[in-house]
Amino acid sequence: MDLRVRLGKLELRNPIILASGILGLSGSQLRRVGEYGFGGLTTKSYTIEARRGYDTPILAYVKCGLLNAVGLENPGYRELARVRESLKDVGIPIIVSIAGSKVDEFTTIASYVDELGFNAIELNLSCPHVEGMGLELGDDPNYVYKIVSGVSSIVSIPVYVKIGLHRDIMATVGKSLDGGAEGITAINTIRALAIDVYARKPVLSNVYGGLSGPAIHPIAVRIVYDIYREYGIPIIGVGGVSSWDDVIEFILAGASAVGVGTVIASKGLDVVREILDGIKTYMMDEGFKELSELIGYANK
């Protein structure tokens, strides 16, 4: 059974990638996560300056998933040198997620990431709860083009654009590709709100947060399917994976790799093994030898 996939220029031993923002704050965290069998890891989104993040509560429970408003907490991009150092020998591709508000912030961090020898860059243009550093950027196709072309023209590693529920998703994707992105990561969390009925107040200190988990899975599948159909490019499908069949679904829709996040809160890191076993059984039962045969299958 061959679980290897090609994600553009990257070779992955399997398609499961740690989604950005889940335990990717430090090299030691990523190192530990790397021991659980992932095909690749994405760091937390790094910014120019260190960010403390929002006050607690940063997480809200809803019946169909989680809301988070972490507020892009991170130690600042200079810390990436130490992250790289402690990940020297993990043997799987590391994707660095970058957030910012201006083109030069993205390019400064991106060239540093390239210099340090990381494997790919993910531009987070879709964080739904930090003003001026997320969703609005991705909503503006012309600005998307500026950021992506600025970054792509100065780095040698693949660039992915992480999108969310933008006003015109296909325009954002199109401009990302025009700007030189190799592929798309879809999707980020969706802006949402939870109110505690006894406290009679929003649960999150930031009021608004990003919805992740099972609730967003079918939306993410739709978006991956549409992008693959229109452009046939490498896609990292992310959103609401809770078991192996959700991963297969993303791959059938056109994803070459699949990010997992929220499920780690409930199932722990061992969920990777459970997912990989499920995929193998499925391939055996259904008579597939190579997982890559399935990419975009439902679209054909």
């Binding site: 996560v33 940063i58 429970y61 972490v70 505690d196 006894y198 406290a199 809160a265």
Partner: protein, 259 residues
């Protein structure tokens, strides 16, 4: 560790009503809270207590019986100050329990060590150990006599009880860790919670004398369920909220090595 599932519905807030307040000292108070919803809570596990409009903070209850929960809180910053202003009859919101507590299923002689408000999960553990009928000694280390928290309670549980004060105003004078070094040989297990310096010293003693220990560590807890990464223990990759807050000597020695 971290391999098993977790019921994340513990992230749903619930609440209780303050029934009684005890002033231990100027900076530490205990609150007895009648809870609305019983949730299993082992000694050493923690809750996130939320003051709507302010933050939520991690606290390890000092007693719990499924209906009554006691928290013991030191005034430190805005949220703990707000907790100190709460009155009888007020509602408090919390979620959890989170993390792994003290494991006291093995028969043997236990040495229980609490430093400052760190005595909070230790006294709750003492109640459990009494239920199981194991032998235990309760040791509390504080700066001065008026900071002592649960000495009478430990005595009433029938435990050997020792107070260690830095200034010698009551009990034994000195650092609690110096006292522990004198008696550690007589015990099979050591359970501890308190300031970082105390914990690291206890770990060193346990390693030196071959005593198994479980120690409860602090870090900045935000998500509580092991995804945000804010509560990493030193640079180990271990998460206080999910792998801890109570870690055993095996894990600590493996990850901390010579700290």
């Amino acid at each position: 560790m971290y391999l098993t599932g977790y019921d994340i519905s513990i992230l749903r807030f619930t609440w209780g009503v303050i029934e009684d307040i005890l002033n231990h000292s100027k900076s530490i108070k205990s609150f007895n809270i009648r809870v609305r919803e019983p949730r299993d809570l082992d000694p050493g596990q923690f809750i996130m207590l939320w003051i709507p409009g302010l933050e939520e903070v991690p606290l390890s209850p000092s007693y719990y019986d499924g209906s009554l929960m006691r928290i013991t809180v030191m005034k430190r910053g805005p949220t703990t100050e707000a907790i100190h202003r709460l009155r009888i009859g007020d509602r408090v919101f919390y979620r959890g329990p989170f993390g792994n507590g003290f494991k006291v299923s093995n028969k043997g002689r236990y040495l229980l060590v609490g430093g400052g408000y760190g005595a909070s999960p230790i006294i709750y553990t003492a109640h459990k150990i009494r239920e199981y009928g194991y032998e235990a000694m309760y040791v509390e280390g504080v700066k001065t006599e008026s900071d002592a928290l649960f000495i009478d309670e430990a005595k009433s549980l029938g435990l050997d009880t020792i107070l260690v004060t830095e200034d010698g105003s009551s009990g034994i004078k000195g650092l609690v860790t110096d006292y522990i070094e004198e008696v550690i040989n007589e015990y099979d297990y050591l359970l501890g919670c308190g300031p970082e310096g105390m914990l690291l010293k206890l770990l060193e003693l346990c390693n030196r004398y071959g005593v198994e220990c479980q120690l409860s560590f602090e870090a900045i807890v935000k998500c509580g369920v092991g995804i945000c990464g804010s509560c990493e223990l030193y640079n180990t990759g271990l998460l206080v909220c999910r792998d801890g807050p109570v870690f055993d000597s095996r894990i600590l020695s493996r990850y901390l090595g010579g700290v």
